[in-house]
């Protein structure tokens, strides 16, 4: 028996109405049997609501099976006397870094578990020291958790679990709320713990790239285990994964596309290096394909700026904590214009000033110096109607579902238009249209926003801003915390709005893959200044510079670079999977193809 074993595990959530009558029984886990060996790195993948978090909570005896058995460290969780043993055997790290840190100083928080277990003080000290070292947070032991980044907070949470000396750590979507660097930081830490300390790691996630180095992957959906195998076995089933709302790394997807295009590429490609090797082999073996497809190169090489600007920033500067010793210059002279109907993306490392910047666009923050113009008129003019401006420049904050407050979705969406002073009928008209735009039909109108799924809540919240009929729609990380399926849904809807309504879109994002796919123009913010401003293709040419700013380019851009090193010509800049596919296939398509590639690359 492994360290964690389940036998036909079933768990049902029971919803009761006010009279305590059973209203609905939902089966979150439906007959899961698995066996996890000590020392392994296991990943459990699944979309939001697939039952993976419920399963994780069973491993820590936070939930108990409705039917079936789960043994943790060979102990049955249903026996009450095993409870504390089980929680010490399998430590648990949760999704939200803020909601699992109890103390106000890092070291005190790490000591919390051992304190509860009744470990003597001197021993607690030793454990705190060792755990902080293991996650590389020793330098912050006296710091307040409020001053740490998301990735650092998660490392503290991991240290807090390590201090309990568990044999196994269960991490329930530990990276869902982090930026890409925080994500890497956390994954590196847990891999290191697994390798160096031999701790069993169970990582629950919906990011496929985090599972590449796992020993074993389980894919869950609808409360059942749908797939099980090594990363290579799982990653070779691209189509099935997509059907389960999951996503594979760009190179895996590209490998599958190339194989179906006729190239001898093995299935289940995990890294850039592997795909490069495969293509090198294919070239040496003289593989040829017939490919007459378009260049796949729909995106412009440069940004057109001839449209009249809707919004314009001129030399905007902004400081936080003016007059205190902690004064920070967040924006240092930002100038750019948003032309009518443009899809603009702002990228930047956490702390580069993105969120501060977008709050200037609708006058929520006032610049210390410089000017913001809306249709050529300064919004800082005396008596300027800021409320009207906020209707025209719609701002969707990060996690917008946290601002829902009305009894039902429809009333909530009416809130914006009503504030604009519209009549009830007009407001309702607007709300209907906005909900249609985000793909929510009348069956949602009277439902409480709090009983919707994560993705639906977010769409309702976005509709709340759309109902004001903005000319410019600003979205701050609209896909944060969503699974890949939910992410695509939101971004496709935004793209549709942009195309159908001619709405200018400002998308703040951490995902280079997303901005490469959707944006016409990229602005790269670095420590309060604009580092680059241009078409995604232009900007990603500077990927080495981007790396020094804590950013990166899409994975396929790196692949193209590696391929060029070994003599592939690959015309044009490559920033999306489609572009990479057609460039590579053209390369293998022989003479006519080469010509094609030559012209496309100019």
């Amino acid at each position: 028996m492994g360290i964690i074993k389940t036998d036909r595990l079933v768990f049902e959530y029971t919803r009761r109405d006010e009279e305590n009558q059973i209203e609905e029984v939902m089966r979150a886990i439906d007959g899961v049997s698995l066996d996890i060996k000590e020392g392994q790195f296991v990943a459990i993948l699944g979309r939001n609501g697939s039952g993976k978090s419920t399963l994780a909570k069973h491993m820590n005896a936070l939930l108990f099976p409705t039917d079936g058995v789960i043994w943790v460290g060979e102990k049955d969780t249903r026996k009450e006397e095993n409870l504390w043993d089980i929680r010490q055997t399998a430590g648990m790290v949760f999704q939200n870094p803020d909601n699992q840190i109890i103390a106000t100083v890092v070291e005190e928080d790490v000591g919390f578990g051992p304190e509860n277990m009744g470990v003597p003080s001197a021993e607690i000290w030793k454990r705190v020291q060792e755990s902080l070292e293991a996650v590389g947070m020793t330098a912050y032991r006296k710091a307040s958790p409020n001053h740490l980044s998301g990735g650092q907070k998660q490392r503290v949470a991991i240290a807090g679990v390590m201090a309990m000396r568990p044999r196994c750590i269960v991490l329930d979507e530990p990276t869902a709320m982090l930026d890409p660097n925080g994500r890497k930081e956390v994954i590196r830490t847990i891999r290191e713990l697994n390798r160096a300390e031999g701790i069993t790691v169970i990582l629950i996630t919906h990011y496929m790239e985090e599972t590449v180095s796992a020993d074993r992957i389980f894919v869950m959906d609808g409360g059942e285990i749908q797939m099980e195998g090594t990363p290579r076995e799982i990653f070779s089933r691209v189509k099935e994964l997509k059907a389960l709302h999951l996503d594979v790394p760009q190179v895996t997807e590209l490998g599958a596309l190339l194989a179906s295009g006729g190239l001898p590429v093995a299935s289940g490609i995990l890294t850039v290096k592997e795909l490069v090797e495969e293509l090198e082999k294919a070239r040496e073996s003289g593989a040829r394909v017939s490919y007459t497809g378009a260049s796949g190169d729909k995106r412009a090489e440069a940004v057109s700026l001839d449209k009249e600007p809707v919004l314009e920033l001129r030399e905007v500067t902004y400081k936080y904590g003016t007059g205190t010793p902690m004064e920070v210059k967040v924006l240092k002279g930002i100038s750019f214009a948003v032309p009518k109907g443009q899809f603009l993306s702002i990228i930047g490392h956490t702390g580069s000033g993105k969120s501060t910047l977008i709050q200037h666009l609708n006058g929520l923050l006032k610049a210390d110096s410089g000017d913001v113009l809306f249709h050529g008129e300064s919004i800082y003019r005396d008596g300027y109607d800021k409320k009207a401006l906020r209707g025209k420049v719609g701002l969707v904050f990060q996690y917008p579902e946290h601002q829902l407050f009305e009894e039902d979705v429809f009333t909530d969406v009416c809130f914006g238009p009503k504030n604009q002073g519209l009549s009830k009928e007009q407001a309702e008209e607007r709300a209907k249209e906005a909900l249609r735009l985000v793909g929510m039909d009348s069956s949602f109108y009277r439902r409480s926003p709090f009983e919707l799924s994560g993705g639906q809540k977010r769409r309702a919240a976005i509709a709340g801003v759309l109902a004001m009929e903005p000319e410019v729609l600003i979205l701050d990380e609209p896909t944060a915390g969503l699974d890949p399926g939910g992410r695509d849904e939101i971004l496709d809807q935004v793209e549709k709005l942009h195309e159908e309504k001619g709405m200018a879109v400002v998308l703040v994002s951490h995902s280079m893959e997303d901005v490469a796919r959707y944006a016409e123009r990229l602005i790269v913010l670095d420590r309060g200044t604009i580092a680059y401003d241009g078409a995604p293709k232009e900007v990603f040419r500077h990927y080495r510079d981007l790396e020094t700013m804590g950013l990166s380019a899409p994975q396929v851009t790196y692949l193209a670079e590696e391929l060029r090193k070994i003599g592939f010509s690959l015309g044009g800049d490559i920033t999306t999977v489609e572009e990479a596919k057609s460039a590579i296939l053209r390369e293998f398509a022989g003479a006519e193809g080469e010509e094609d590639a030559g012209t496309a690359g100019d």
């Binding site: 699992q100 106000t104 919390f112 304190e115 000290w125 929520l364 906020r390 904050f397 946290h402 504030n419």
Partner: protein, 266 residues
């Protein structure tokens, strides 16, 4: 205004005041409060000023930080000053309509203001120099005798420390929700009192929901880390009095004695 609440924020520097046992600091704050209320006449207040200034100096907390805590109570302060000015009987200095300002009123108001300001400054100094955890540890141990009469001292202390940890988080959250609703055209600043109270609904509902969500999460995280009440718990920093605490108690006793002496003499 929410951002001005500095009470409950720790200022991390190393100083002799920071190193004192939290029980000593709690007692010190209590003694200082008592001294403010027994004080009468300027010599007493002068001594209190010197004492407070010395403590702040030794604590190495920037004075600006301590003053900032006053912003949150400015209304209370004005209120009590105005009341004292107008409602104290004595030698009338100015009289208009039904109001009169007396000499005693002015003095009384001045003293009241000083008392309140020092009270806030003194207690903020304590929270600035004591981590919430050790503060609650101090309370838990200092009030431990109440356990005998079935007061859940440990639970109260734990609740306090969690509240202190989440004050800044929820403050930030409130700020975020407020901005998000303003982006949807909400107006928190104008209109009648009733309208303004009503305009708080879009802020308060999401804030409470968020607080409940965080509470559920936190409870689960605590359980996962084997929290099961104060029973059988050990401490990473068991409270132990040191030599400097004895010295601090001596100074406190001397200070209180001096204040009483000054009150009697003048």
């Amino acid at each position: 205004m929410l951002r001005d609440i500095t009470l409950g924020q720790y200022y991390p520097v190393a100083s002799p005041v920071h190193r004192l046992d939290p029980r000593t600091k709690l007692m010190g704050t209590l003694v200082f409060l008592i001294s403010l209320f027994v004080s009468d006449g300027w010599p007493c207040y002068l001594l209190a000023t010197v004492f407070l200034a010395a403590c702040i100096k030794i604590s190495r907390v920037p004075i600006g930080f301590i003053f900032r805590g006053l912003k949150a109570v400015i209304f209370l302060l004005l209120f009590s000053v105005v009341f004292n000015i107008f409602l104290t009987d004595g030698d009338v200095l100015v009289r208009f309509w039904i109001f009169k300002i007396t000499k005693q009123g002015l003095i009384q108001a001045g003293y009241m203001a000083i008392r309140l300001i020092y009270l806030i400054m003194g207690s903020s100094l304590m929270t600035f120099t004591t981590t919430p955890t050790s503060l609650t540890d101090g309370l838990e141990r200092g009030l431990g005798f109440l356990k005998a009469v079935k007061v859940p001292v440990h639970e109260i202390a734990m609740m306090m420390s969690i509240a202190l940890r989440f004050i800044p988080i929820l403050t930030e959250e409130a700020d975020k929700i407020m901005k998000a609703q303003m982006a949807r055209g909400a107006d928190f600043e104008s209109g009648s009192l009733i309208k303004r109270a009503k305009s708080l609904i879009p802020l308060l509902v999401p804030l409470f929901i968020s607080a409940f969500r965080r509470a559920t999460d936190l409870a689960m995280a605590m359980e996962a880390r084997c929290y099961h009440g104060g029973e059988g718990r050990t401490k990473m920093f068991p409270l132990k009095y040191a030599g400097r605490d004895a010295a601090a108690y001596l100074i406190l006793a001397a200070y209180l004695g001096a204040v009483i002496a000054l009150k009697v003499i003048f």
